[in-house]
Symmetry: D2
Subunit: 347 residues, 4 copies
Amino acid sequence: MYSFTCDYNEGAHPAIIRRLAETNLDQEPGYGEDDFCASAAARIRDAAGCPGADVFFLTGGTQTNYTVIDGMLRQHEGVIAAQTGHIAVHEAGAVEFSGHKVLTLPQHEGKIDASELRSYLKTFYQDDSHTHMVYPGMVYISFPTEYGTIYSRAELQAIKDVCMDFNLSLFVDGARLGYGLASPAADIDMKDLARLCDVFYIGGTKVGALCGEAVVFPRGNAPEHFFTIMKQHGALLAKGRLLGVQFDTLFTDGLYEKISAHAIEMAMRLKEVFVSKGIPFYIDSPTNQQFPILSAGQIDSLLGPIGFEIWERRPDGSAVTRFATSWATPPEAIDALKEALGSAESK
Amino acid sequence: MYSFTCDYNEGAHPAIIRRLAETNLDQEPGYGEDDFCASAAARIRDAAGCPGADVFFLTGGTQTNYTVIDGMLRQHEGVIAAQTGHIAVHEAGAVEFSGHKVLTLPQHEGKIDASELRSYLKTFYQDDSHTHMVYPGMVYISFPTEYGTIYSRAELQAIKDVCMDFNLSLFVDGARLGYGLASPAADIDMKDLARLCDVFYIGGTKVGALCGEAVVFPRGNAPEHFFTIMKQHGALLAKGRLLGVQFDTLFTDGLYEKISAHAIEMAMRLKEVFVSKGIPFYIDSPTNQQFPILSAGQIDSLLGPIGFEIWERRPDGSAVTRFATSWATPPEAIDALKEALGSAESK
Amino acid sequence: MYSFTCDYNEGAHPAIIRRLAETNLDQEPGYGEDDFCASAAARIRDAAGCPGADVFFLTGGTQTNYTVIDGMLRQHEGVIAAQTGHIAVHEAGAVEFSGHKVLTLPQHEGKIDASELRSYLKTFYQDDSHTHMVYPGMVYISFPTEYGTIYSRAELQAIKDVCMDFNLSLFVDGARLGYGLASPAADIDMKDLARLCDVFYIGGTKVGALCGEAVVFPRGNAPEHFFTIMKQHGALLAKGRLLGVQFDTLFTDGLYEKISAHAIEMAMRLKEVFVSKGIPFYIDSPTNQQFPILSAGQIDSLLGPIGFEIWERRPDGSAVTRFATSWATPPEAIDALKEALGSAESK
Amino acid sequence: MYSFTCDYNEGAHPAIIRRLAETNLDQEPGYGEDDFCASAAARIRDAAGCPGADVFFLTGGTQTNYTVIDGMLRQHEGVIAAQTGHIAVHEAGAVEFSGHKVLTLPQHEGKIDASELRSYLKTFYQDDSHTHMVYPGMVYISFPTEYGTIYSRAELQAIKDVCMDFNLSLFVDGARLGYGLASPAADIDMKDLARLCDVFYIGGTKVGALCGEAVVFPRGNAPEHFFTIMKQHGALLAKGRLLGVQFDTLFTDGLYEKISAHAIEMAMRLKEVFVSKGIPFYIDSPTNQQFPILSAGQIDSLLGPIGFEIWERRPDGSAVTRFATSWATPPEAIDALKEALGSAESK
């Protein structure tokens, strides 16, 4: 049985486990002041083409989102997100817990639209009562989005332009960043991303690590005392080495890119399996999450050999489903899926 | 060179690294719903003698403290701690960030005193203006304390009695719990602790793990929806397996106790080295942190072969210092310390 | 010139000013423990038909909303409101500042729909990932709404039923309560309201007082220590007498009802003026706020003698406007409006 | 019977009541945009000698304190106060509710000491672990203090110097500002105060108003969007006119100074009564709060004709008491006190 339910079913890339074992008894200072973190940060600055970047390592996505957002906003400001944005839906109100409103815009396949953003901001500032409202202080987007889609360079530039016109910072949640950049549909690389936003993070948890997200402020523009703000938000890991070793390994010899490319290759094969069976998709995703709409019979056939997530069950028994590949997905799992689906057909 | 600066200089106990490697590609669900967490929780319930306990795994100490405290208090309540308590000093105001005041009591070698606690509470409720003040809702103690000292059974019972009289919950920060329970001075075990408090945590980060703290609500008395509260506080790890594997390993065949006992044995040898040189202590600690007061010459001799922390430099060049042993401290490090100190003498 | 821009343009009902003057030098204790507050609370319990009610006096609407909401919710809970609800739009994120998300439902002329509420709640609890989401803990409605509309008894009962099925409390923002209950369209009175919700407040600021809102927990169901929670939220007035005197006056000899009825009478006359001119309305409001859609010419004619609020300017120069009457609106102001509109016609 | 229990037992100065009555039906915009607030702000700028000041009107002391503090601090910063400071003790944790720690220094007759402040700050920044601690961002002092004492010009200058050296803002809680400045012991006036601090407020509630505190940022240095921050904190009064009229009246023809001087004259007479009876004081207060230590017999004799507050009852039945005069204290009340005490003697 192989499960495609999510992209964090396995542990870490074996190279990380090996490196953890090798360095295990080296003595290092805590709180991210170890040599591994320093090396990892240097490699990330290099990969992102921003030699002056501030780089911090946190443990998980929700933690990273709310620490960055609260760290960058003033208290009367909120953060703009798609109505399907992770911070708007699936983070248990962490942003609100830290005192800020999530201001939602309509989503289009998980993305916000620059012209709708501009229109919202114009309307906001034209409204005489806007001083009684939450000020927009930041735009949050995810890359890829919760629906697996990605922004094009032109779309990002358009959003960035609006942000500059209205003095907003732009934050890119890259929990699955590798899978977005490795997509054949991507027309940007990490250096472009670093140029186009004010802060982004490189997801480790879903891309080869046991845990960990690397926050990058590309122009050395971290809020002053961000280290202390991390501590205050419960986001400072005592043994920062655990994060340093992992990101140092991921950014050595292009491992992060390689394993991301593998996940995408698996996703495209998986997509092809569904396409070849004439199965429709809820959304046309170019990244590691795929959303086929399966019939009741197809679902039945898969259950057992193949794990996946039911997103939305429909009255006729069919369902929107999610299949996620990852750095760990073996080619054999795609074959197994194909076979299981084939048997569905012949029933 | 060997560093005694803190008890989180190394990675994890090798058995943990091995187990992480062995289980690395097993597919498991996220968010602590994996088999390892289930097994670890069962072993912890057993070790703590509380079969009905709720057990949760979080990543670090500050995160655990403020999530538990905010989860258990109502919003007008504060938490009582020693003025030297970790939450009162070294957590960057995480408790206040979550909206609660830390109400401080005098410390006596890092401990609070039950009669002073009672007196504070009596005075509070007798004060006509107490409805304008922060209500005490919880008592926080650390075991061992920040000074390495531990509460006796009688002291804990006395504090518990006061808590019951004034309807306060009792929370024990066990970031170094193993080292406290393994101390020759300890007259309680984990089962006693579980009986005497409302919630405690078993520190992993400082006792053999890469990261992780296991929160135990001994009588199944976790606040409702504590899982969601963890998520909201950025304290829910996606790959909960990382914590599950570690605690499952630590609580198999008494590993947690064994490695804690090793650290204490090393601490007692280290203490003996200082005693044998006639070196005084700032505090008489029975656990893995020792606080010798070294002369300027002694400090000079150690620098190089031996790392340690300067706590408080005095005008004459002497200093209160901290030496911490851990599960990882090799006996040779004690010998090296002894030798270095010997050379100090002969200068 | 008379301004209909809002219902808080004037000071207080003259009876209140007189009473403040008469009692001015009486010595009274602070913080709502004065005789006026006690008397006002008794009169309110009587008017609301709930002899066991807890009654508290706060200063303003936003303050009241966020103090009540934060006081009643647990930290992982949010409050459901119409997307046009005051707390969702015009309170500068006060609810989020206190740590809670405002969960929005579609609005229908400013109201939420009980079946949509039920559907939202069913979907929420059916979603496997709901433990990663903000739990709905309360429903907030305004009576009248921000669009001047009111809920019928049947609508309220239906919402209440859903709340009981899903264990939510129901909070009614009555900033303009008097104007809602005095409406010819209302089929409930204050006693009904008290039966149908868990907490409501009686707006003073917009209904005859200089400031002040009276919060009523009809069944003595105030959160424990709500007094201290008020203090913590900056919502406890030192000279509570200022609020006590005002509400005591408003609830003596039915003054609150009488002045509310006057405002509604003025509103109906004002509505009739627009209707008689064939002017359409943005929404059919049965309370003191009216929303005529005026042409550019009509707007021009009014400017000068008549003040009102432009809500939404349209490309052709017409606009949705808001006219608010109040306890203080003189009949002559309606005549002046009629005359000014008449002159518009003849142009 | 006359009560000296506090300085907010009565309503407002009669001139305020008159002015409220006279202006009652004038139509004015809300939220502090009325003419009265504008006029009051202009008069306050004049009285404080700071023509560029930003002036805001809030309703009460706790509300003002936590809104100003939260508005000026960054999230990792705390506010330094005397351990007896109002924000540290009697505001139900409002500052912590807004996310900030109150960092306490020892009090000396209610005051902090500039050299202790400097020493604390030096120690803080020398501590290697200070990045794990709450950063001091502001100094809060009350003038007069909770013990009725006042800072001299030299003391304020010394504190200001430390603040400038360590980049802290200085906030003066002037809930009883008039009574401090009117004291014969005061060697500063409001213009001096404005020069010496970054923000202060002029207490209305305790000095002649029904409610209201005027916050002054002397150099136009209000945090950007402070209006919205007030709204977010529930501190924006809809009918700002209520505050505008009051402060406009208080700052017309020196009324604020005159009524403050009256309270001080009454306090000095009251003090003389106790002195003449040989009664000792807990503290030598030069302002409107006096703290005589009364014997059990003296206490008994006063009960009935004279109200006062028992601060601290002693085993022998004697007590530290508080007597507060105010703008409203009639000379006859002092006579009545004298007489009652006289009868005590003769018993």
